[in-house]
């Protein structure tokens, strides 16, 4: 008889902690997994109280594991075989599970006997299975302390599950369980990481990008869309609101004393973001700010800039070192996009010496003398929304490969 891994076991992350909301979480995770696996029509997803199983029905298990490893809300995954509760079948499946793992020298068997009607106790059964594996393999020995592979045998009422390799999941909460946030997405290294971390806490994101053609190039806009596409891989499609910012930026640059123009510009960005968020029923704004990194991210600057909105601002990176941010950016694949050499050409507008300690009363005073309402209306009317999908599902180019 040929045996195959017939399903994948998914262990929930923090979901088990959330008493009442458990159902919401499990449903959302189910939905997210289904969404990510839509290219595999044969698979069936079954969610239980403690874990989820994906019935493969012939689909390539490794491909599915590779996708599920990046879905938030999953603590770990294992390939599994389901057998009847009898010794012969379990022996055969355990041997298969061991042989499927490459480069194994040592193993250990761990039996959990949930079904007390099963006639052999777990300790004895470990020995029975261990002996069977030793007899039927070569150059593989038992090591109970540091085995290369641990064969788990989970004997439950009605069926036994045999698993070997355990893959770590991405952790966090399923995207969609913590509401929506509007992410200020520049082409830099920080903001996509901030978006990723928010998503890992279950947030669904939309993105907003301020575009100032011809000072900022098409290339920098494409960069932002590519970053959003990367983020979409961790959850659902991402709407990117592209704000034509040139006219407003020019006016600020012209009218506001140079030391303060950057502060005012940032305030306008938040103000516009708030309007967009309200239109989209989004309850918060997420930024990639990290304390002390640049002039706009000093305590004084953040105080002066933040005062423009009453919206909660999520700053996942606020206390994280640049090196750690770069590390995460590399792990999630946004780093190579962020460092593409198309700087956002916005530098034209950056004053030579922006105030690192702007005063809020001065800022409001300068702003009160400046009427930006015309530019604001004009710009709000011309926001373009581009929806990007994760790499896996899109696009015309894909057909070429």
């Amino acid at each position: 008889m040929t045996m195959l891994y017939d399903h994948i076991l998914i262990r929930y992350g923090e979901l088990s902690l959330k008493g009442k909301n458990r159902k919401v979480f499990i449903n959302q995770l189910h939905e997210n997994v289904r969404h990510q696996l839509k290219d595999f029509p044969s698979v069936k997803i079954k969610s239980g109280r403690d874990r989820m199983s994906i019935l493969l029905n012939g689909a390539d298990p490794q491909a599915i594991i590779d996708i599920c490893r990046f879905i938030f809300g999953i603590q770990s995954l294992s390939l599994a075989i389901k057998t009847e509760n009898n010794e012969v079948a379990i022996k055969e499946a355990a041997l298969y599970a061991l042989k499927e793992v490459e480069n194994v020298r040592t193993f250990k068997v761990t039996t959990k006997r949930g079904d007390k009607d099963f006639p052999i106790d777990s300790q004895t059964f470990n020995h029975v299975i261990g002996a069977h594996l030793l007899k039927n393999t070569e150059n593989i020995t038992v090591n109970v302390h540091q085995p290369d592979v641990e064969i788990h045998i989970d004997i439950r009422k009605g069926a036994t599950f045999i698993t070997s390799a355990r893959y770590p999941g991405a952790g966090g909460l399923p995207v969609g369980t913590s509401g929506k946030s509007l992410l200020l997405l520049s082409g830099g290294i920080d903001s996509p990481v901030a978006g990723y971390l928010a998503m890992r806490r279950g947030v669904k994101i939309e993105a907003i990008h301020f575009h100032s053609p011809p000072y900022t190039s098409e290339a920098s806009k494409q960069k932002v869309l590519d970053l959003a596409e990367k983020l979409a891989e961790f959850g659902h499609e991402v709407n990117v609101h592209i704000v034509p910012f040139t006219a407003m930026q020019q006016k600020i640059h012209r009218e506001i004393p140079h030391g303060y123009s950057m502060t005012v510009m940032r305030r306008m960005m938040l103000k516009i973001s708030e309007v967009v968020a309200k239109q989209r029923n989004i309850l918060s704004i997420t930024t990639g700010e990290s304390l002390g990194q640049v002039a706009s991210q000093t305590m004084e600057s953040m105080h002066a800039i933040n005062a423009v909105t009453a919206f909660p601002i999520i700053r996942p990176l606020i206390a994280i070192d640049k090196n750690a941010i770069i590390q995460t950016a590399k792990e999630i694949g946004t780093y190579p996009i962020s460092i593409r050499p198309f700087e956002d050409c916005c530098t034209v507008f950056v004053p030579k010496a922006p105030k690192t300690k702007p005063k809020l009363d001065k800022v409001t005073c300068f702003e009160s003398q400046l009427d930006l309402s015309h530019e604001l209306d004009e710009l709000l009317e011309n926001i373009k929304v581009v929806t990007v999908f994760g790499n896996k599902s899109d696009d015309l180019m894909q057909d070429l490969f």
Binding site: E102, N103, S217, E218, A219, Q222, D226, P336, F342, N391, M397, Q398, L400, F401
Partner: protein, 379 residues
Amino acid sequence: MIYFDNSATTKPSQEVLDSFLTVSEAYYGNASSAHQFGLDADKLLRKSHQQAGQIMNVAPTEIIFTSGGTEGNNLAIKGVALAYQKRGKHIITTTIEHPSVLSACRALEELGFSVTYLPVNQSGVVEIESVKEALQDDTILVSIMHVNNELGSIQPIKEIGELLKNRPTTYFHVDDIQGFGKVSLDLKSSNVDLCSISGHKIHGLKGTGLLYVKEGIRLFPLFHGGGQQTDKRSGTENLAGIVSLVRAMRLITEQKMHHPDYLDHLNQQLRQQLQDIPEVVINTPDGQAPHILNFSIPAYKPEVVLHALEENHIFVSTKSACSSKRTDESAVLRAIQLPRERTTSALRVSFSFQNTDGEIELFVRVLKRIIKELSKVMG
């Protein structure tokens, strides 16, 4: 027509040609240009890196697109040798490598490098012990092919990789031009640092190929210029070629996945039927690459047999196309110590997934007839 010379080159598949044409028509921008047209090309280029990386199970940034196998082998060997010559000047390779490896090594000898050319055993396989013995403190590169192009012998790449695993200053290059898509090789678990592939051996186009270069390895470029491909290979990327290559890689990988035993089946069929012809001796040992079968008809001039087959619209080769114009003796067959009557009378049949059982039967029937006819003159 029966085409049994797939190790020389293959027929480009229609899908590959379609991709080449579409990209040439719709994405002819320069991937380095800043306008939308260039950006689309750049995006497609990045997708190509991604897809190729996925197929080879390596990172997208570890792929350098080349003009084919010869460039890949040269870039790997000269690139590593020149970049790391301060570390050492010793290189190890084998006597049965493709001329693009052997000639590159000989050229480096002229520049002051020393090269060990390892012999192979009678099956055409390099002994792991001989690699171990050849290693010196100043060995910076080991370059060994995966599948031999004339004989089809498979080299113990995984074992050699294991041997070199704890030698961070010795890089391991594998010429996988004959093996890719036919004999599996997992680069990461085999500790391979560089690996060359060619498009036209897998139903892709001539002038396409790639070199896998493990993250962190420097190469002294063959081409200096605009800094494309992380400065390792300057020159405007041949985007249409690149996309078509990746498609060819995907197609052959899928074919192998869906029909893992097909080439082997063809090989066994031909082997069995050739064994019935008393004049024929099979040179390729059992258990080697499934798509190559080398055999000799001692006392029969192979060129004559080749042309006689050609008259019947059957195409095979004598030795490999790359070296068949030189002497009358196969260096690879000499390396496995076959007698001269066999090294001078060898023919090579090489299959693709497009060949069939029927073609093999017809080929054997025609070959029998040819031997019979020629025996009057030569046998």
